[in-house]
């Protein structure tokens, strides 16, 4: 009750603070495509220090202007600045549709980094946030134009495993990342074969990542917010991009339907020809994006978006192992070749994602912006992997099957109110109805399945108050999960500006999470997905973020920042799926509560120096966990703990047509449990009448060994084609231009980046297993029209 009163009083103070002065508002667009520009700056040239920036919807509002006539300048990185004379009407209002023209690419102007953009989450006040654009992702050779692979090069974001698309943010579990596509929560947005995200980068406008201390607008996750905005469609004409390669083909098209409606269509089909031919496998995936935007007038607009993806994997390595076995036999081997002949390694996966959303955006008044959205986000997965091997008299037989289904139906609305200059109030409400269904089968023994249909109701309010060089943004999020008691999440962000150009930023926040990921990385051969499980019978997981940061823009195009963070994970959960594999316990009985903490410091330099642009960062971090069922509650290093990380991306725009790029990552190895003893489980298989041996390697201490340092350097080249097949193909399709991209991955291939030591019981040996044994070259054309 006390919190409600406080909140109401807070709103009243804000509303009464407004006065009758002129208000300028509007939306900023790209003149060529009609896309709204997020983070464009609007500056009143006659009033020093008066400036604002567009939000996620391209909207800005500027109240409290006294003169009846002013001159403003609209600017955005990569666009020509525009000066506009504004006269206010008798109602003291003016609404503008500002259209900015992209600058032509000239030598030395190309950068892959945006420094001063106001991003999702409000860059002015929020610390620990990064933006990736399609251009910056393209410049990362090893990213293969994929958002999740690109994110690994940001400070605080680490890959969980070399072959997995999952990322851990500041020592958290990958299941603690909130991934949103145009405001829709999307579950497991990953493809299997390419270990990449399901987002076709041709359809993406930009990606904003908040790695900690985010505001009250976002909730339901403990670690980070990854927000992906897709394109709306081109107002000016038909434009698109075709990228055919031997592995996959991508297509993207945007066009006007009429003078008020635009449409965007994108698709990708991956066909694993080599796998299908050599391994007798049937692997493919596809994804489809559709977007329809209708502008009723300058102030009202509606978006309808659909996204769908499917992964089908039926991969069997047995044929390959047989060939290798006969090779070894031919070379004179008498022991291992027989094992390879009998080896059975199978992966069978089926994943689907289907998302439909409706968004209405309205500028109700120059000071009031309203957004309402409804969506359905449906995900299901069925993953089976099996490994059977026989070495002399010891037979290994292990298999897992995990099934997961998540249906999320959500409606949400938010209101931005700017009563006077220097004050921005944001409030919203959200209701989600879920269905979570999970099932597991380990070593052919059926585990239990569970189906839960909880609901989540949330409200948030936050107010950004700007007084000269000080900005404070207090906020609170109130949530009720599964009709239980209310949870309050107070959050506050602070920015102090100093005359020297330095800025001090700080953040504090309480974060609740009502779903957890079933940790299966020690059961599956490679954990590609998060199997979400709702915490409907226990208290939600809880963490507190404490962040302080310093940043300074040094020179025109260079920025340096230092963040120090401490995350107190007061309550977290882990699954012990093996704990009761032979007993029919409910899944809820396999959940164990624990705690943990992560802390660290991140130094980041980004920007542009002459024709070089990019970023480099150093991170010193630590992450620990403690669970009563693991080593009697003793604290241990978490699975994704990297003590030192040095990484970055450099792009060299050599000429207008050629750019070189390089990415690098040097990192402490992760802690792993390297087993030193083997336990065998024996089971009778009634159908075949055989005994099955299930090996379980054991160790008395979790994550006791740290893997060696990993190092990787990758190189890339992109070149506008002047002659040759690509140019002819572009000419045939009447395309504007075509590009050739060449990526050389893993140039340090002689350095084996060990990810695991496989114990060879009985031989007193450990075999180091790495992921980067060979370099690889990837070549492809991109045709733009």
């Amino acid at each position: 009750m006390k919190q409600y009163l406080l909140t109401s009083a807070f709103i009243m103070v804000v509303l009464l603070g407004s006065a009758q002065k002129n208000t300028l508002s509007g939306i900023v667009y790209d003149v060529q495509t009609g896309e709204t520009l997020i983070g464009a700056t609007i500056q009143v040239t006659s009033l020093e220090g008066k400036g604002t920036a567009t939000d996620l919807n391209g909207f800005f509002s500027f109240p409290g202007i006294e003169p009846m006539s002013i001159e403003i300048m609209a600017s955005f990185i990569g666009y020509e600045s525009k000066t506009i004379q504004v006269n206010f009407n008798w109602q003291h209002k003016s609404f503008l549709e500002i259209r900015l023209k992209p600058v032509s690419v000239a030598l030395g102007q190309v950068t892959i980094v945006e420094l001063s953009a106001n991003q999702v989450g409000d860059r002015e006040v929020e610390t620990s946030q990064h933006r990736l654009t399609p251009k910056s992702i393209k410049s990362i050779p090893t990213a293969h134009n994929d958002v999740f692979k690109a994110m690994r090069f940001l400070p605080g974001v680490e890959a969980t495993e070399p072959l997995s698309p999952l990322v851990s943010v500041r020592g958290s579990d990958p299941g603690e990342n909130l991934i949103m596509l145009d405001g829709v929560t999307i579950y497991n947005p990953y493809h299997f074969i390419s270990s990449s995200g399901i987002f076709n980068m041709q359809t993406v406008k930009n990606i904003d990542i908040l790695v900690g201390g985010f505001g009250a607008e976002y909730g339901g996750r403990n670690a980070s917010v990854i927000h992906i905005s897709t394109k709306d469609g081109n107002e000016e004409g038909i434009h698109g991009e075709v990228k055919p390669t031997t592995v996959e083909s991508r297509m993207f098209l945007e066009f006007p339907v009429n003078n008020k409606t635009t449409m965007m269509v994108g698709g990708r089909l991956n066909y694993d020809i080599a796998g299908n031919f050599i391994l007798n496998s049937n692997n493919y995936f596809y994804d489809v994006n559709l977007s329809l935007t209708h502008r009723f007038n300058a102030r009202n607009r509606m978006d309808i978006k659909y996204f769908g993806s499917k992964d089908h994997t039926s991969m069997n390595f047995n044929n390959l192992y047989k060939l290798m076995g006969y090779s070894l036999e031919r070379m004179g081997d008498t022991l291992i070749y027989k094992s390879l002949l009998d080896l059975d390694f199978t992966w069978e996966n089926q994943w689907h994602n289907n998302i439909g959303t409706f968004i209405w955006k309205s500028v109700i008044s120059p000071k009031l912006y309203f957004r309402v959205q409804a969506y359905a986000s449906l995900h299901d997965a069925d993953n089976f992997s099996a490994f059977k091997m026989k070495v002399e008299d010891v037979a290994f037989n292990t298999s897992t099957r995990f099934k997961s289904k998540i249906y999320d139906y959500t409606a949400k609305a938010s209101l931005n109110y700017i009563p006077f200059f220097g004050n921005e109030l944001k409030l919203g409400a959200e209701y989600s109805s879920y269905l979570f269904a999970n099932g597991s089968q380990i070593n052919s023994v059926d585990g239990v399945s569970a189906e839960v249909t909880p609901g989540l109701l949330s409200f948030f309010i936050e107010d950004k108050i700007k007084i000269r060089q000080v900005i404070i943004r207090p906020g609170i999020r109130i949530s009720q999960f599964n009709q239980r008691k209310l949870d309050y999440e107070p959050r506050v962000n602070l920015m102090l500006g100093f005359g020297t150009g330095w800025k001090l930023k700080a953040a504090y926040g309480t974060y609740y999470q009502y779903i957890i990921s079933m940790n299966t990385q020690e059961l599956e051969f490679n954990q590609f997905l998060d199997y979400y499980y709702p915490l409907s019978q226990v208290r939600p997981s809880l963490s507190y973020h404490y962040i302080a940061g310093l940043e300074k823009k040094t020179g025109k195009n260079l920025e340096v920042s230092l963040d120090v963070y401490y995350k107190d994970i007061a309550r977290t959960y882990t699954f012990d799926l093996l704990q009761s594999q032979f007993e029919a316990f409910a899944l809820s009985k396999k959940v164990f509560a624990g705690s943990g903490k992560t802390y660290g410091t991140e130094l980041l330099v980004k920007g542009q120096v002459q024709k070089f642009s990019g970023w480099a960062s150093y991170t010193l971090a630590r992450s620990t966990r403690s669970f009563p069922n693991i080593m009697d509650g003793k604290e241990y290093l978490y699975d994704y703990d990297h003590l030192h990380t040095f990484k970055g991306v450099i792009n060299f725009q050599a000429t207008e047509r050629i750019s070189y790029s390089a990415d690098f990552m040097f990192q402490s190895g992760v802690p792993r449990s390297i087993e030193n003893s083997l336990q065998m489980f024996y089971m009778y298989e009634p159908i075949t009448g055989q005994m099955i041996y299930s090996p379980q390697f054991t160790i008395d201490q979790k994550n006791s060994s740290r893997m060696p340092w990993t190092m990787q350097i990758n190189l890339g080249l992109e070149k506008k084609i002047v002659r040759g097949f690509g140019k002819d193909l572009a000419g045939f399709f009447h395309a504007d231009e075509s590009y050739l991209s060449v990526n050389v991955r893993n140039v340090l291939f002689l350095r084996r980046n060990v990810m695991y030591y496989l114990p060879m019981m009985g031989f007193d040996k450990y075999i180091p297993l790495g992921a980067d044994y060979l370099p690889s070259v990837n070549i492809g054309y991109t045709i733009k029209f």
Binding site: G108, L323, Y326, I650, T655
Partner: protein, 351 residues
């Protein structure tokens, strides 16, 4: 040690960044300026005006890729000191009639360098119009040129370019003289160099399929390539090829980004073609256990050849059909070399 090497790499990047932009630009994109001799075409007795319709810098004639430090690909751009039109025009008085106008639609020199020699190929197509005393313009037709020449490794790039230009210029002068003298351009020399009344043609896109049938195997090729208009009786194109072969106990797939397709025009309707090239591919064995196939036997090394007669009307789009023979020599580790011969049927569409 690796960290030390990496720090050197970073230092080099910083040094490059601190240098002037012009240095960095010249480092990756060298520009060569080569002057052509314009003596022969200056002798042309009538006024010859020239317009450049290329979507390029007016001085641009060639571009090729070089590897700096054996690894970094950089572009070598070749320009002439004056606009290309200056090398065709003869600067006679403009009031002399009949005058002629030359429209350059394409003029490009392809430079190739191998271990032992250099070769340059010239592609040009240019429209010709006649301007009479009343200033009326009559379109006469189009010149097509495709000339290539090999040079020694020690020959300079400027020498190679100049040598080929001189050969082209003298041939063009001779052809131009025949055309303007109203001789009928029907003999062999000008058949491919000048097409009366024809407008500039675009490149043709070919999508082609070869179906093979042999005593022990069957298979299919899929090819795609762009072809400039035929400019000589003998000409070479380079399709990208995907091949699938089925031998009963194994299936093979292979790919080649650049096979060689040699063409010989028999008459206006028929072409003789010889396709050959190295293919690298993979085998899928159906008798893995019976024959104890090994990992090494996954890989296929093949030299493929085929000859066919093709119904391919000159300067017309549409379906193309052909019949001929294919031969292939394959090597698979632990297996005897394999030589196969079969008949082939070709079907393609020329866009």
């Amino acid at each position: 040690m690796r960290l030390f090497l990496f720090s050197i790499f970073i230092n080099i990047l910083i040094l490059l960044a601190l240098e002037k932009p012009t240095f960095a630009q010249s480092y990756v994109a060298d520009t060569l300026t080569i002057n052509f001799s314009s003596g022969i075409l200056k002798k042309f007795p009538s006024v010859l005006k020239t317009l450049d319709f290329r979507d390029e810098n007016p001085r641009f004639v060639s571009m090729f890729e070089k590897k700096k430090f054996l690894f970094f690909p950089v572009d070598q751009i070749v320009l002439t000191p004056k606009p290309l039109t200056c090398y065709f025009e003869n600067n006679l008085q403009l009031n002399a009639y009949p005058a002629y106008q030359l429209d350059i639609h394409d003029f490009y020199l392809h430079y190739n360098e191998s271990w032992f020699n250099r070769s340059v190929k010239l592609n040009a197509y240019m429209g010709l119009s006649k301007i009479d005393a009343r200033n009326d313009t009559t379109y006469l037709g189009i010149f097509y040129y495709e000339e290539s020449k090999k040079f020694k490794k020690k020959d300079s790039i400027a020498y190679c370019y100049n040598n080929l230009w001189n050969r082209f210029a003298s041939g063009f002068y001779s052809d131009l003289s025949v055309i303007v003298s109203d001789s009928v351009p029907n003999h062999q020399t000008t058949r491919y160099h000048f097409r009366k009344g024809q407008k500039a043609a675009k490149k043709n896109l070919y999508i082609s399929t070869d179906v093979y049938y042999g005593y022990t195997f069957g298979g299919i090729d899929a090819d795609i390539w762009f072809s400039e208009p035929e400019m000589t009786q003998k000409f070479k194109r380079n399709p990208q090829m995907f091949r699938y072969l089925n031998y009963g106990n194994r299936q093979s797939v292979g790919f080649s980004a650049k096979v060689s397709l040699l063409n010989y025009r028999i008459n206006d309707s028929w072409l003789f073609q010889n396709k050959h090239g190295f293919i690298f591919g993979f085998n899928k064995w159906n008798d893995v256990d019976e024959a104890k196939r090994t990992f090494e036997e996954l890989f296929l090394f093949q030299y493929a050849l085929s000859q066919r007669i093709v119904y391919n009307p000159l300067n017309k789009s549409g379906f193309i059909f052909g019949v001929g023979l294919m031969e292939e020599a394959s090597y698979i580790i632990y297996n005897d070399p394999i030589f196969s011969v079969g008949v082939l049927f070709n079907c393609a569409y020329k866009f």
